[in-house]
Assembly symmetry: C2
Homo-oligomer: 197 residues x 2
Amino acid sequence: MIEKPTRRRGAALEQAILAAAATELEAGGYAAFTMERVAKRAGTNKNAVYRRWPNRVALGLAAYREMIAAETCVPDTGELRADVLEMLRGANRHLASPYGEIVRGLLADAAARPELMEQLRERMAAGGGEDWLTVLGRAVARGEAPPESLHPRVATVPIALLRNEFVVRGSTTVPDSTLVEIVDEVFLPLIRGRTRP
Amino acid sequence: MIEKPTRRRGAALEQAILAAAATELEAGGYAAFTMERVAKRAGTNKNAVYRRWPNRVALGLAAYREMIAAETCVPDTGELRADVLEMLRGANRHLASPYGEIVRGLLADAAARPELMEQLRERMAAGGGEDWLTVLGRAVARGEAPPESLHPRVATVPIALLRNEFVVRGSTTVPDSTLVEIVDEVFLPLIRGRTRP
DNA sequence: TAGTTTGGGTACGGTACGTACCGTACTGTA
DNA sequence: TACAGTACGGTACGTACCGTACCCAAACTA
């Protein structure tokens, strides 16, 4: 009979800690996210945690990455407006509680550490911008948008505006009418405005 | 001979505390902003501080308001592009250190308190939007922009994009080329796109 | 001058970060 | 299978800060 090891090591323990950290983040947000609670939930102690992550922000960021690992999916409805709205709605759902508070906390804590900031930027809701370029690229291919509009700065305008809205408004969810406004009053006119006459 | 009072009271003490808080914020940012340090710098103790502000966020917000009290000035160069760029540059200077870290810290701490969030939104760099509407309104009056473009969501696109950039990038200053890009690749095409054909 | 308000000093309880130490369970190598 | 080295778990500690409590004295007020 093979004895079940009572003491986890290495990767197994690391995964357990990460899972515990993600659960803690999900349960109480970044404010209630403490090293002691994570260690306790993982069935270990702070030692094992600090051996892997040098501080709270680093662990929080790693756990956040874990949480949002399988999320992104790029819609393809065949119409630019619908695609963009759907991506905005997805991002809005994501940035609503409890992710919003987590991102804010991480942002505040990671600001002083450029390398963490870099990671956070990459992982932040639809932060990369490739997905947005993909959607816009499809619209260009369909002839729905002019080729001159295919610019990273342009493609990410909706998510940038949403993110701003969310930062400025606090933890409350951005109303859907705002998302519609972003698309209809800003994004689509912008695409039109970039048409070469 | 009138004895100078050695112990300040009421408004005098309140102003002294606020000034000390602003100095502390400016010196070390929100992370190093502690009630004890503020009290010490003001030449008093935490008692007097807590009698006036219930917690750290409230005092930090009040001090931040004090810091940015006399800042806003709306440019009027006679050309929309130059006006917008100047406002963006001013906001960028403002959001660069140490204000950036302060705003991030306040945002993270105030998120749970709607009434503080409200204050913060109003006071945040060019957050109100009236100034941006003013600039755009002048352009419309000059015939430089179509009347259909006079929309709050449209007018505040540049500052929203800048704020997003700054939140996403961390504490580093946004390069001037980004500001130019926001204006030339997004804002001006957007204005053009809102022209009624 | 007596009485009330308001500052200032000090200490405390509580919480959390991050560090140190130490005995012990596991691992893998001889 | 014995043994050394590594990693884990328990515990305690030092530090820092928040927010509160208590008390006395200074300043104002009647």
